[in-house]
């Protein structure tokens, strides 16, 4: 018997191609719908892209189709990329945050994503100190607001002299 929880279990095993956590922990999976049609089920999955046009999207779609399609009783898999609700770093799960930190990637705390502006106001990206994921020091500084992928920035820890990555507050 296929239910949404069993499909979610399969999705939890799919890693993001650019981040060392699953697409579920990254907050990409918005909805799973199952329509039973005789012996086979049609599974519809709504996925939120992180950054618009992220090159990892076709890979994610492929992985979902392959893995969910292999579940017994699943006849058809459809994957929709939608922007409502918008993905933001706030959607990353606590477990995902811990795994990312272990890999040297920190995530802005819940609720700190930037609001989309009305007008005029200057953008302040660098608010509070970012804690180093390796040694816990707050003696860190922004090294580069752009990093290895479009969603990450590079920080440097003055205390343990390591670079680490921090996800953008979007």
């Amino acid at each position: 018997m296929i239910d949404t929880e069993s499909i979610m279990d399969v999705l939890r095993e799919i890693p993001d191609p650019e981040m060392p956590i699953s697409i579920v922990d990254l907050g990409l999976v918005e909805d799973v719908r199952i329509e039973t049609n005789g012996d086979s089920a049609v599974v519809s999955i709504d996925v939120l892209p992180t950054f618009v046009g992220c090159p990892a999207l076709p890979m994610i779609e492929n992985e979902i189709r392959t893995k969910v399609g292999a579940v017994e009783g699943v006849g058809e898999v459809s994957v929709q990329f939608i922007y409502d609700p918008p993905w933001s770093v706030d959607r990353i799960s606590d477990g995902g945050r811990q795994s990312l930190a272990a890999h040297g990637v920190t995530v802005p705390e819940h609720g700190s994503k930037l609001d989309v502006p009305g007008h005029g106001a200057k953008v302040e990206l660098r608010t509070s100190a970012i804690t180093c994921p390796f040694c816990g020091s707050n003696e860190t500084r922004l090294d580069s607001p752009f990093g290895p992928t479009r969603c990450r920035m590079i920080y440097y820890c003055e205390a343990c002299r390591n670079s680490f990555e921090h996800m953008k507050r979007v």
Partner: protein, 259 residues
Amino acid sequence: MDRLPENLKQPTIDLLLAVADDKLMLGHRNSDWTGLGPILEEDIAFSSLAQDEIAHAQAIYELLSPLVNKTADELAYGRSADQYRCAKIVELPDNFDWAIAIARQFFCDHFDRLRLGRLARSSYKPLRDLAYRLAAEEQVHVDHVDAWIVRLGRGNDESKRRVQTAMDGLAPLAPMLFEKVDAEDELVDAHLYPRADDDMFHAWRDVLQHVAHEGGLSIELSPPDEDAHGGRRGHHSEYLKSLLDEMCEVYRLEPGAAW
């Protein structure tokens, strides 16, 4: 609304082309710096800016695609120069002068952010949802270029003089970013391109002047001449043609080829 009323179709196409074409050309100009940035971090930054802007343009072309019956690639690479709706400022080469690249980015990114902020409240749902995400991403660009304006302004005599000269050089052209596409007022009335809370030109000028002031620099900007015809209505600089010749060189060898 989820579907466009027939009478708003053409103005919407023109507006979305303006947004996407600005992003595509600016992204192409940003990519000129890949491998040539003044420091490694800026090489990465300008390459990332290019990646963002071209991805944004692609997403908007895809939104347009069913309205015009063309693929995103055909829209990006398959038009003649007079069919583009970008403003002239994004067409200009910077001749690998870092001050010009930063000043151009400064004018364009702030404008883009304010425009996306309006589109993120659009009555047309597919546009609203996409614009919200794009606006969130654009904030990072604005933050980055603001930091550069202040850094160059406070740097040394040469950096200050060069960034001031670059801003002065672009200031007469920059307000043409605000040129309206044909029938734009109808889109505003239908809240498809909702009115800004405050006058958008003043909001733009105020934030540019505020940041420039922080760097000890100054900017004079006059509202755009309503009668002047520019890129939004297909009148482009001589540079657009050479930009397109370079950007579309491979596409034109075999349009529609699969990659």
